[in-house]
């Protein structure tokens, strides 16, 4: 029922990804990475992962939408 849950999930994680990549880029080399994440700019790296996941979800949503009219035609 309702709408495809993959869409808001995809949107939210895409936004998170963009935010973290942006923040990671802006704070690159900051002392907080040495203090916390073992010197790794984990914001930027994980931001990429989040973005990939979000876009993947959105892609699945579009795939679903394309499949549905086709499935309906088969009935």
């Amino acid at each position: 029922m309702g709408f495809d849950i993959r869409m808001p999930i995809g949107m939210l994680f895409t936004l998170f990804g963009i935010l973290l990549i942006g923040y990671g880029a802006a704070t690159n080399g900051s002392a907080m990475y040495a203090e916390h994440s073992l010197g790794v700019n984990i914001n930027a790296w994980w931001g990429v992962a989040l973005l990939a996941f979000g876009l993947g979800m959105l892609a699945l949503t579009r795939l679903r939408r394309k499949q549905q009219p086709a499935a309906k035609e088969q009935e």
Binding site: M1, I5, I9, M11, Y23, G24, H36, L38, W46
Partner: protein, 593 residues
């Protein structure tokens, strides 16, 4: 060492709130009937129901509690998953869902009414309703306390805001809203904790490095030290573990607790309903790595910021320094502090605040930015626990208490209205419980004890009800009551080692047995409760008249047709999927033996 969240962290959390509310608003227009509101119109696809099934249970108490247990007991904590939850989930999916779903019961108590009688339903409905609404309150209290301790946020504000958000989206979108947000929460926890485990393991040198630092073999094996309760930190041996935790407690929870069963009941078909718990089992198997490992790492982690400034130092060749971030702490786990700010001690040893293991990990390894994501995952899991309890409560209240005893013949729209109303007062009661918990910690403990007694015998009743057609309503009711009394009695006559009589047990006077640990006492209480319930139910059933078999069609194994599986691909068959999980489970148990 209080972390300062920056704007980016608040932005992440606020974005999450916005989405959660948005989902609720969009779903409002689909809530036309009470079935839509309480059961999502039975239209949820298996993968969504499966992830929701998993997430509904994944409240912060589990995320935090498993971290705490990991810090205390090590990898043996995985038994809760690999011996407890996962087998139970497979069982309920493959064997019990046909009755829950096929009977068209709208709730677990309603199944009891269909299978047995009104008084059995009433006992289950009332005890479940009370339990679930108080559990929600306890969850709120835990969250408020944590956010206050960790970030300095105002306790009242934190729980009020989160309660209002949960209220908004469950009021508008009913169970569907709760389910969709649970799926969102699942991905948040996974995406929030993977970097934590990565950074933590990298810091301590991987699994081998972790083992070396912990320097206690019993913490890194799950079965090797289970022969003797004195050999492992949990204080249990394999039999108590297998029967108590695995069989009685886990099966009792996953097979009879409406909070999770409701998600499977919302599935869009019988096969989907059967597959729901099995689908949930796959990620559940992996969760120990996400929630237990951080706890284990916390006990041996160090932090560069104040390394060497607090606590004593001792260098053991090849192993990290033993200085703790906090005086009297262990790794980055602080001790419990009393009102004067001094570490609490018991028997001369400092009492550690293990519940802070996972939160301290987040604070230690996450810079601003990712910290927002980690906090978001924590808050999301608290909120989805609250939402799960709320949707279970409003359904049981409306169908099993209100419709059954108070107003039997109102229109469906009226029950829909009552569903919304009970969402409001359910959350209200939970909030009150949270404030009471804040003032009177012991009341909490007593309540949770009572609920444990009520839960322990449940699985015996359901098992007998579903698989033995001779079980009668009288047998079920008295068995349930008897099992609860058996639990209370066993608990009242035993004590865990080092405890004083009272909330920890032994309140009936003579102490007949002292268990090596609280956990052992809990497991054996559960075993006694189950055996008591089972025996009593069988005896009384044999002495009372059963219902005619006609009435029990579809409710009992021997009187129900096998579910139709023709035309399903192999990966769609519940039993096949379950088998794959079992094989993987055996593998995991062997690896961490």
């Amino acid at each position: 060492m209080r972390p300062e969240p920056h704007l980016i962290d608040y932005t992440i959390i606020l974005l999450y709130f916005a989405f959660v509310l948005g989902i609720g608003f969009v779903l409002k227009k689909y809530m036309k009937t009470s079935t839509d509101f309480f059961l999502s119109g039975r239209s949820i696809p298996a993968w969504i129901a499966g992830l929701a099934f998993l997430s509904a249970n994944l409240g912060a108490q589990e995320v935090i509690g498993m971290g705490a247990s990991g810090a205390k007991y090590g990898i043996a904590t995985s038994h809760f998953y690999w011996i407890g939850a996962v087998p139970a989930m497979l069982f309920v999916g493959v064997f019990m869902m046909p009755f829950y779903y096929g009977s068209r019961a709208r709730s677990v108590p309603e199944y009891l009414k269909l299978r047995f009688d009104e008084k059995t339903r009433g006992f289950n409905a009332i005890s479940f309703a009370v339990m679930t609404v108080f559990s929600s309150g306890v969850s709120m209290y835990a969250m408020g306390k944590l956010l206050q301790l960790l970030l300095g946020w105002n306790f009242t504000a934190a729980i009020l805001i989160s309660a209002l958000i949960v209220l908004a989206y469950t009021f508008l979108g009913g169970l569907t809203s709760a389910i969709y947000n649970e799926v969102l929460q699942f991905f948040l926890i996974v995406m929030g904790f993977i970097p934590l485990v990565y950074l933590g393991l990298r810091d301590v040198g991987g699994w081998d490095g972790l083992k070396a630092r912990i320097a206690n073999d019993a913490m890194v094996h799950s079965w090797k030290y289970m022969g003797n309760s004195n050999a492992n930190p949990m204080g249990v041996e394999w039999f108590g573990m297998l029967m108590g935790l695995a069989f009685v407690l886990s099966f009792g929870y996953w097979c009879t607790d409406f909070l999770v069963v409701q998600r499977a009941m919302a599935a869009d078909s019988m096969t989907a309903a059967r597959r729901t718990p099995v689908i949930a089992a796959f990620p559940k198997m992996v969760f120990p790595f996400l929630v237990i490992l951080p706890g284990m790492i916390a006990g041996v982690a160090t932090s560069p910021r104040v390394h060497g400034m607090i606590g004593g130092k001792s260098e053991v060749a090849g192993v990290a320094a033993q200085s703790s971030f906090f005086t009297g702490g262990k790794g980055i786990i602080p001790p419990k502090y009393d009102a004067a700010g001094q570490p609490v001690t018991a028997d001369g040893k400092v009492v550690l605040d293990y519940d802070l293991a996972t939160p301290m990990m987040l604070v230690r390894y996450f810079p601003s930015g990712l910290l927002g994501l980690g906090l978001c995952a924590l808050i999301a899991s608290f909120m989805s626990g609250m939402a799960g309890n709320t949707t279970a409560f409003n359904t049981v209240w409306t169908y099993d208490i209100y419709q059954s005893y108070i107003n039997k013949t109102a229109s469906d729209q009226h029950y829909l209205w009552m569903g919304r109303a009970s969402t409001v007062f359910g959350l209200g009661i939970s909030l009150m419980a949270a404030f009471v918990a804040k003032e009177f910690n012991n009341i909490l403990d007593v309540l949770q004890l009572v609920f444990a007694f009520v839960n322990a015998p449940l699985f015996a009743t359901f098992m007998l009800g579903m698989f033995w057609k001779r079980t009668t309503g009288h047998g079920a009711f008295w068995g349930l009551l008897g099992g609860t009394v058996a639990a209370a009695t066993h608990y009242g006559l035993t004590l865990p080692a080092g405890a004083v009589a009272g909330v920890k047990g032994g309140y009936l006077g003579p102490i007949l047995h002292v268990y090596p640990s609280e956990m052992a006492q809990n497991f054996w209480t559960a075993i006694f409760a189950w055996v008591g319930c089972f025996t009593l139910t069988v005896v009384i059933s044999l002495l009372t008249a059963p219902r005619p078999e006609q009435e029990l069609k579809g409710l009992v194994y021997s009187l129900t047709a096998r579910p139709e599986e023709g035309g399903l691909r192999w990966y769609q068959k519940p039993a096949t999927l379950a088998l794959i999980v079992v094989v993987l489970l055996l593998g995991l148990n062997l690896i961490f033996w």
